[in-house]
Structures are given as C-alpha cells and as structure tokens.
C-alpha cells in the first residue's frame, strides 16, 4: 500500500477509518441509547419555564433569530410531547426515518429556546451533535421492531460503520476542544494559577446557600490544582480512545467523574455529556453477546438436568 504523506494523506487515512465496516448492532445500540437519553432529557420542565418569556428578554442565537420571541406554553408543550414520543419510537426502531428526524428537530428547537437567554447552551450540545449521523443511517437493521418483523439481523457493512465512528469523533472532539480552548485562552494558568479555586468560590457565593463541596475543594489549593490538571488532561486526551480503544476504560469513567464533580461542586448539569459518552464508547454488542453466552451456558446446565430429572430430589 503506497504511503500517503501530508494533510491530504492524513485526511484520506481518517476517512478510510471512518468508512470501515461496522456492525448493525453497534449502530442500533447507538440509536437506542441516544434516543432514550433524548427522551429523558426532553421530559424536563426547563422548556416550559422558558415559554412565554417577555420578548424584551429574548436573546436568540443561530436559527432562533428567525423568531421574535419565545413560543407560547401551548406550542412548547405540543413540540415537547411530539419530540418525546418520536424519540421513544425511534429508540424502538419504529418508523425511524421519520421519527428520528422529528425527535432531533424537536430537541434542537426546544434547546434552541434554552440557548436564547443570552449565551450558547452546551449542556445538551454533545447529545444533539452525536445524533446527527443517525439521521442518515440505516439504524433499524438490528435490535428494532422493524428487524424483528423482517426476521433476520444484518451483520457488518460500511453503511453501519460510518455513523458510529462519526459520532465518536464528534464526542471526542467536543471534549478535546473544551480543553483546547482552555489552553488557547488561558494557557497553563488554567491549571497552575488559582483559577479553579476562584471559579468554585464564585459559584458558591452566587448561591443562596453556600456549596459545601465547592468550598471544600477551593480551600485545598493542591487538591484544586490536581483536579484542574486531571480535568484538562481528560478533555485534551479524550481523542486517544479513537486510536487506542482499550483506553476507553480510563477516559470514559474519567469523563463521567468530571461531570459528577461539576454537578456536585458547581450545581451544573452536564450529565447528558457523560451519558452520551457512555452510550457511544461502551461496547454494547460485546456485552449483549456475553449475556447471551451466559444465558446459553445456564440453559445448557439447567436444561438437560431438568429434562433428565437429575437436578431435583
């Protein structure tokens, strides 16, 4: 195989990796996991809280600039109900060519409202971006009601590989660029100055009740530096899992821990990031196979015993 050098060669190599064959079940696991997660996230009251906001407070970004104000409560509830129903249908693989885009568009609109109070909303961004490849993917060829109806499960194909790998790149990229921008705008001071301590003190002071976990960490400078360093290393290093899948066992739990820590110390909900990373990087197919083997082994042990009447007195 000829060695391709330069950026063009690298891009071709990357594209070659993205377009490698993948399994229908991995893609189906992505559909089920992300759609269920979306249904849960859309079930919260935050969107109704935004409905009917006085138009003078409306600060739209992106496509939300097409609107003059937040939509009414009735409109929001209708879109919310529709998007949740569509997410659940898509998770089950029911009419996914329609239900998946409806769920995604509904979610983008509802979260677009959230991003229209004055700054870009990041809490749901990774989930929404990770779902984009699913919009064009044949994700119902396995683990879906449609596949049950057909009576067969498809195996491996290029068609199943690229959506999963594209979503992986987006999630790994989301973490990487979060860390990258910290280095660009702050440099090593993000870790080595008292930056994290001031963030924690600031958030606690803004709260009606001081946040004990934030104050505890902020009052221990060494621990604060260590947490800042580990957080940045997790973000910057996350894309390594694309080359070294074995490191998923380190980076995904680290990312989950990062978001749990943010939740406890800052009361900010980034759980959708953690859940998206888990859905995407856990090998659900291998887990399902292991469970099936265990069930088969159990049946082999129990089955003949019962059949021959030797297991029970």
């Amino acid at each position: 195989m000829p060695v391709r050098r330069g950026p063009a060669g690298l891009l071709r190599q990357a594209e070659g990796w993205i377009l490698e064959p993948g399994s229908a079940r991995s893609l189906a696991a992505l559909r089920i996991g992300l759609c269920l997660l979306l249904a849960v996230r859309l079930s919260r009251s935050v969107y109704v809280q935004l409905a009917g906001q006085p138009s003078v407070l409306f600060r739209p970004l992106s496509f939300m600039r097409l609107l003059q104000a937040m939509p009414s409560r009735e409109v929001v509830l209708t879109i919310q109900a529709l998007a949740i129903a569509a997410s659940l249908m898509a998770a089950g693989g029911v009419a996914a060519r329609i239900s998946l885009p409806v769920a995604w568009l509904g979610a983008v609109f509802l979260n677009g409202m959230w991003t229209s109070v004055g700054q870009p909303m990041h809490n749901e961004t990774l989930l929404l971006l990770a779902m984009v490849p699913l919009l064009r993917a044949p994700s119902t060829d396995a683990w879906s009601l449609a596949a049950v109806g057909r009576g067969r499960t498809s195996g491996r194909s290029v068609r199943y590989g690229w959506p999963v790998r594209t979503s992986m790149i987006v999630v790994a990229g989301g973490y990487f660029f979060s860390g990258f921008n910290k280095l660009v705008f702050s440099g090593p001071a993000w870790v080595f100055s008292d930056n994290l301590r001031w963030i924690l003190y600031g958030i606690s002071d803004q709260n009606r009740r001081p946040i004990a976990a934030a104050l505890l960490l902020a009052s221990h400078p060494l621990a604060a530096h260590a947490v800042a360093g580990l957080s940045l290393a997790t973000e910057i290093g996350f894309p390594i899992v694309l080359w070294k899948p074995r490191l998923v066992g380190i980076f995904v739990p680290a990312a989950v821990l990062l978001h749990v820590g943010i939740g406890i110390t800052m009361h900010l909900d980034y759980s959708a990031w953690a859940a998206t990373a888990v859905v995407l990087f856990v090998r659900w197919e291998a887990l399902a196979d292991r469970l099936a083997r265990r069930r088969k082994a159990g049946a082999a042990l129990v089955g003949p015993g019962l059949a021959h009447g030797s297991g029970l007195p």
Partner: protein, 160 residues
Amino acid sequence: MAIREVAIPIDPRPSDGDAEPEAPAAARWFVRIFLSAFLVCSIFGVEWWPLTGFRLFSHVRTAHRIQWTLDTVASGGVESPLWLGDVPRAYQGFHLIMPGFSRLQPAVQQATCAAWLAEARRVRTSVSEIRIYRVEWQSWPRAGERPARPPSKKLVYACA
C-alpha cells in the same frame, strides 16, 4: 468415487466477514460536510448552534469579580436579594443581559426592568420596587463560607 463439496452462495447481502467494499458517495459527503462544519465552529469559536465553539470556563478567573444582583424592595422598605434559582429559566439570563444593559435604548431598559419587576412580584408578594446593583466581590480572604470583605455595591437601575 470422491465427492467434492461445492460452496454455493445463498444470500448475497452483506453479513459478518462479507462487508461492502465502498461507502455510498452520499454518506462520504455527509461525513465530510458535517465534520468540516464541526471543526470550523470548534476551532474558530463560531456559534452556529447546535454547532458550537466549546468555550466552557476557558478564561482564567481571578479573586476579583464583578457581578450583577437584583434586590427586591418590599412595601415597608425592606430590601432583599432575589436569587436566580427562585425565578423560572426564562428570567435567568439576567446576569447575561446586564453587562450590555447600559447600551440599550432607555425604553428597552425600562421594559426589561419592568419584565423583571413583574416576575419578582409573582415570586414575592408586596414588592414595590426592584434595584439592580453592580457588585464587586473579592473572593479572598474568606470568613467562613463567604468572602471576608463585604462587596461594594453600586446602584445602576431601579424601577417601580
């Protein structure tokens, strides 16, 4: 007589170990365009939301900070802070709007303040006025759970 087994292909559709060699051109272009847009926004901080610049806590903070607070004044004259957690999400952009508040037209300033006042009256009864302060804090030194030095407050706007 020797019998030779002959493999007959039954199902030409892809299965394990029989993958399609090429990706559809549409998928190829979809991936290229989507990832390019993702990279452009991530690198250059473009907010084509949901594509975003991923600037989360990217600037270094210091012990000195400026905040905006909103106090309600009861009919008896008692002043107390209105915490953002007490109002619905629609009103939680207060601290994002305030840095640019002085640049708004007077009529828009008045309408904005009136919207916050109406919500404050919904949350708390007998609110006669709201006062918006620019507050300078010094996170360090601490006295227990709060900054040791009281913040310096400057009244910026009030509406009744």
